[in-house]
Point group: none
Chain length 190, copies 4
């Protein structure tokens, strides 16, 4: 009773919402989301009591999805730089493969519908990634920075590069490489 019955429907709503928010912004209508999810307008509110709830849950789901993709295959034994490059490449790959999800996150990121609590929760997942690099900080390879700034740097530079890729898809490798140079310079001691 706490959670409604069909997990499948819930996911269909979130998926439809991601697409809709990506292309129309947070003002995408619940009617369109429901239709694209293959359910009735009213059913959406069985799973998410208000549109704001839906948007916040979508934000968290997308952040979790992104985080999982980035951490996948993390090479624990490699050098710090190689590990950073792994994170960078995974980020770029996820964004390149999931343009709608990326756009949706951007839209949600600037929307005041997403609460501070959701943002905090979303950030926490990435602190976890940051902690994978503890050794880099201790050894002095990575520059000491205010809390959360490393993952924020990762996010904004990734997003920037993906925007270039989006506008000029032919040069993806070029952007990815130049982007990593920028990124590594930004976070390492040199």
């Amino acid at each position: 009773m706490a959670r409604p019955l069909s997990e499948e429907k819930r996911n269909a709503i979130l998926a439809a919402a991601a697409e809709a928010v990506a292309s129309l912004g947070v003002s995408a209508s619940t009617a369109k989301i429901a239709k694209d999810a293959g359910i009735a307008e009213g059913t959406l509110f069985v799973y998410f009591p208000t549109k704001d709830d839906l948007l916040n849950e979508l934000y968290l789901a997308l952040k979790a999805d992104m985080r999982a993709a980035i951490a996948a295959g993390y090479p624990t034994e490699a050098s710090v730089k190689e590990r950073c490059e792994h994170l960078w490449n995974q980020s770029i790959d996820w964004g390149a493969k999931n343009p709608a999800k990326r756009k949706a996150i951007r839209q949600l990121g600037v929307s005041d519908k997403v609460t501070e609590a959701s943002r905090k929760t979303g950030m926490a997942a990435f602190r976890d990634i940051q902690s994978m690099l503890e050794e880099g900080f201790r050894s002095g390879i990575l520059r000491q920075q205010p809390k959360d700034m490393l993952s924020a740097t990762t996010e904004v530079l990734t997003d920037m590069v993906l925007e270039f890729i989006h506008r000029d898809p032919g040069n993806i490798e070029n952007y990815r490489r130049a982007g990593f140079q920028t990124y590594w310079g930004a976070i390492s001691n040199n």
Copy 2:
């Protein structure tokens, strides 16, 4: 002419729109903007034929405002690093002093109401700043990068740092300094 269009009113509309977009996103209503600008609802459409026109003109006005602030007092004779630091500090100062304008630019940046043409025009102003650093590229102090990437890097890192300042205003100097280290690492050869 019966009565010339009032530059003052036009500016009042743009100012009200910036505030409204900053706090409510691009879905801020024209009624609210007009009211805040101290004019009748219909008058807004005398100055901007559609809401989209208003949004695009606002985007350009904000970009121009930002650019002017950043370039002000540019120390032509200083070292490349000092010149970069000047640009960085001006950016941070502008953003810190104009939080609404900064938020409005972010909102407009992700909105599809802002046309590609406006984005191009907005970017052009910053290419101009980038060209102030030609010497840095020639001498090898700054890293060669794909076109427009330097100014994009400036923008996203500035924005990121301003976000930290926004959430923790007491530590502004701290963030500004750490931010510049990140920034300088990101753009220079090291």
Copy 3:
């Protein structure tokens, strides 16, 4: 189905629209129509996606209503002239009894909101009546005319006479008789 669309409400909307269009023209507001139909403003758009759709459907409904009234009680066995007189009288009676519907049809007839397709469909119903008089054409009693001209003649002469009746209701029988003479002269060989 949650609740089926109510045929009753749909008809109430069409009826209210007919009255409103009759008295105010096609610029009658949807708000007024909805209110007169006893429903909320938004509900109108559940039944008719746009105002233009409503207007077109209203046109067709009125034409169908008129056609049904005209053909009612058609004396298949009577002489051609008597059959024509029947059609004439039914037309006059319908118009006299339904002044609002008649006015609404006139308004819609000159409006460019009513599509060519709707006009064609509306006309088709009357071609059907025209074909009831085939024998009259074959026998030479009725004059051979370009396609659709007989029903158009019926319509405009009926409408003209109804306009006289409208302005001078006391003489209805007088106008009806004089009108039929005009009509019969117009369509028969003599």
Copy 4:
């Protein structure tokens, strides 16, 4: 002072209004009419105090224009039938040559913006034409009819035929001839 200065401007407004009403109906905006007339929005109201005044004056001007065209070259000495044919042909020619004016009259005719007084005045001009046929009534060639019905018949049948011509312009002569047969049958004793 009673009449504003420029007759030329007044006529330009009426001409622009006729075109605008023809294509957009009586809801054509005064702004568009003014623009098409080559004057400022406010100037229109120097010549016509309200839009309703403009519409009524337009109605009268168009009726007068039509009447003048129809009576032109009237063959006083010809037979009654020839004289009727002259009127018929002039009507068709005027309508065929002035489709916008014809459409404008139709729009105004069904609009409640045109007052009963204007309609009366407009009709009076045609009574004048009707009286040209006095001899036809006296001699019994034309059927006795209620007052104004002959000119009303002329108008509606002309309009009907012009509508056919409008939809099938290739057959203009065909429609004109068939139309006259209908018309002559409608008004003459036979």
